[in-house]
């Protein structure tokens, strides 16, 4: 019997590891590949340096009026700097900015424990954030009580308005969407048809139409003299519109859950709502996290459409700012600023959803 002696491990060839190896396998693995790589590098060379030079190197950062930017070749960030308060708070009275800051600061403070593993009362806190926090925020924003001066919704604006619209839209559309999705799969024909009609109606109408109708047509049907807040109407419109999309996303998740899960839940004696809440929805929602977040991101960006009904969200207020004769010609800076703010929020949502997916993955194979 021969005795097997294993070969000693040898290092891989030098051309396969390290920077060289990476370059070879990723950028220059074939002539075509190499040509494409070089072309891409050339394109980057053409576009990136000018952008960096415009946005940073040549940009004007200091000053407080248009004159400061007179000689500059690059971006005039002075424009954003001078108007930043308006971009953030809209036409909210300057002396009351603290109320908005307090509201958002409170949200951040409340949300922190949700990310701490050891914290025991996450469920209660989440309910507090969803139920009590909006009331506090509304009180802070609107005032009129507790010695706070009343600020009309027409003076709300800027990023804070965008966040409010998106927040309300997100918080309202998810549960509504879930209910609609369950309704659409219901065995009860009336519930089912109501949900189908609702979903198909809202999905079939452009959001811009919904907003127009809510602001122009709705008052025609309301009795004379009733003052139905414009912002509230926009919120309801956005929430209903997005809930229809959400319902379809959730329905996809529900359809992906095997029949055996429903049967096992039934066989264990769980009622419909318990089996949905404990068994089906946790799995279905986890499956469709990417779709849900996708809808959230679309919703966040769609809030800009409220500018057509005269609400000044972030984009609208920026547009209004560069229409100011003092700052004519600085629209690019304005749009770039708006885009980067939107990008930061949307990218955070997308990253958060990926982290959440990873965390909820329990290694199951169906």
């Amino acid at each position: 019997m021969s005795v097997h002696t294993p070969h000693p491990d040898m290092p891989p060839p030098i051309l396969n590891v390290g920077v060289l190896g990476w370059l070879r396998s990723n950028l220059f693995s074939s002539p075509l590949h190499a040509a494409l790589s070089l072309f891409a590098i050339y394109l980057l060379y053409l576009t990136v340096p000018p952008i960096i030079s415009w946005a940073f190197l040549e940009a004007t950062w200091v000053g407080d009026s248009r004159e400061a930017c007179a000689g500059g070749e690059g971006a005039c960030w002075v424009f954003v700097k001078v108007r930043i308060n308006q971009f953030m708070y809209g036409f909210y009275p300057e002396s009351q900015y603290w109320r908005i800051n307090l509201a958002f600061g409170l949200l951040i403070v409340l949300a922190i424990p949700l990310f701490i593993k050891q914290f025991q009362h996450k469920g209660k806190l989440a309910i507090f954030i969803l139920v009590v926090y909006p009331i506090i925020t509304f009180q802070l924003f609107s005032g009129g009580n507790f010695g706070l001066t009343h600020v009309e919704t027409s003076r709300w604006g800027g990023l804070s308005l965008t966040l409010i619209l998106a927040g309300v839209g997100i918080v309202a559309s998810l549960p509504l969407g879930i209910v609609l999705a369950l309704g659409r799969r219901s065995k009860m024909p009336i519930v089912k048809s109501v949900c189908v009609v609702f979903i198909e109606f809202w999905r079939g109408v452009p959001l811009i139409t919904v907003l127009f109708m809510s602001s122009v047509m709705l008052p025609l049907f309301l009795p004379e003299g009733t003052n139905f807040d414009k912002l509230l109407r926009a919120m309801i419109g956005i929430a209903l519109f997005q809930s229809a999309y959400m319902a379809e996303v959730v329905r996809g998740g529900l359809a992906a859950i095997p029949k055996g899960q429903y049967e096992a839940a039934e066989a264990l004696g769980l009622s419909y709502w318990k089996s949905m809440g404990l068994i089906i929805l946790p799995q279905a929602l986890k499956l469709v996290i990417p779709g849900i977040v996708n809808t959230f991101i679309a919703l966040f960006k769609d809030t800009t459409l409220v500018l057509i009904i005269g609400l000044f969200d972030l984009l609208a207020i920026i547009q209004q700012a560069f229409a100011d004769p003092d700052w004519l010609g600085y629209s690019i800076e304005g749009y770039v600023f708006a885009a980067s703010i939107f990008w930061v929020f949307c990218f955070s949502m997308s990253r958060y959803s990926m982290a959440l997916e990873k965390k909820l993955h329990t290694g199951h194979t169906r």
Partner: protein, 259 residues
Amino acid sequence: MSETDNPGGKPRATGDVTIELRGVHKWYGQFHVLKDINLAVNRGERIVICGPSGSGKSTMIRCINRLEEHQQGQIIVDGTELTDDVKHIDQVRKEVGMVFQHFNLFPHLTVLENCCLSPIWVRKLPRKEAEAAAMRYLEKVKIPEQAKKYPGQLSGGQQQRVAIARSLCMNPHVMLFDEPTSALDPEMIKEVLDTMIELAESGMTMLCVTHEMGFAKTVANRVIFMDAGEIIEENEPHEFFNNPQSDRTQLFLSQILQH
């Protein structure tokens, strides 16, 4: 009642009927799946149901806990007749446990949570009590060390044993098994069958749809053969295997016992 079984481990006194099917018919659309099924199951009895695929055997036991609806006849479980009345259905489902071919464990919950879910939410047991009971049953099926794992991390045989423990946690009087070993690799079948044999020895009333004829021979009081939605033959196992009455049964047995 602390356990489903009686402490002595002897079968309960047989004789009183716990499940009764009287003239049950069922259709899937135009297709007549169950034709005039009459069956009385005594307390503590172990019944094996076999037959070719599509013969209606799964459908029959699925009617017993109303996963399927029958259209004619009566099904009475522990004195409760199954009707459209949700209360009756809930009552029956509390008493009847079910084990599925594909285990149907809840993949987003740990083994322990799988077992505790229903006792907590349906029987309203305090969490601690439910967990203690669940651990007892997990010990019984010999996998207490897997309690904190997720089903996806277990082998098929382990998953099926968890599924059995999960059903037992509801303290059922009757256990239904719907081809519990058909989805398992050969070497895992034994561990599940051993668990079922142990359960049978503790006096549980069992209805098993299975093709494990060895199991039928050792455990069953009665073997039922179904074909085309009808009960063709029923007999005690020795007679059933050695002296089948109908030619259809003979054909079936010769086919499955050949290899």
